[in-house]
Amino acid sequence: MIKNKIKNKTKKIVLSGELSGLEKARNLVYESALAFGFSENESFQIALAADEACTNIMKHSYHFDRSKKFTVEIKSHKKEFQISILDEGTSFNPNEVEMMDIMRRKQNKQKGGFGIFLITKIMDSIQYFPKSEGYPLNQLILKKTLE
């Protein structure tokens, strides 16, 4: 009973466009994933997925602006572990990001653009809801089920 209460509790952290906030976010996700029951390696990778999503917002949406804030929320329900990231920056569709051709990226000396691909490899589901007139925040929802 106590364990279920802990599992169902929502945890939250507010970050800005400042990259030094990444460490806090992934530590929170890592500890939460471990407490939920994922292995150390799975928790490491889930924290990595969260890091990649946050990095994308800081870099591409907020352009490292410290005055702009976004929220990372961690929830769980039954066997499902969920990370929601809510930001007010420019919307994008993660499903439209170009898939990986690693050899071509090497030839192009391309050092970025791997984040979304990693997230899709690690998480079971990625949903994206761009902001609208009715709701002013973009929502990226990453889910992984405990097997």
Partner: protein, 124 residues
């Protein structure tokens, strides 16, 4: 899980340098490694060993540093060899298919031997 990122450089031999990295390599800290590799290249060093023994975390921004330099390094008869990687860090390289591009070897000694034997990966 995390600690501050640091790079220690040792010049092993003429033309070979060893970079020992520790802590967490992410978008925040990747420019530190980028500067170190860039500095080695500007000194004419194109054979680089990166020791991962004390690296606890890496994100795609960290992997991107190696991707940014490997073409230029190989164009100059050099290579980047990666050593002593923890399994959790290796798993990130594997998710992205990076072992297709980089030699990941057990020890610095193996990497030095490969350089001495002129075992270099080439650009396609």
């Amino acid at each position: 899980m995390d600690s501050k990122f640091n790079v220690l450089q040792e010049n092993i031999d003429a033309g070979i340098c060893l970079l020992k990295i520790s802590g967490s390599l992410d978008a925040h800290t990747a420019p530190i490694l980028e500067e170190k590799i860039s500095s080695a290249i500007s000194q004419g060093i194109f054979r680089i060993i990166v020791n991962f023994k004390d690296l606890e975390y890496i994100s795609s921004a960290g992997l991107g540093v190696f991707m940014a330099f490997v073409e230029e390094i190989r164009e100059n008869n050099g290579d980047i060899k990666l050593t002593e990687m923890k399994s959790k860090v290796l798993s990130v390289f594997e998710l992205l298919g990076f072992p297709l591009i980089f030699d990941i070897v057990p020890s610095d000694a193996s990497a030095i031997q490969m350089f001495n034997d002129n075992i270099l990966r080439k650009n396609d």
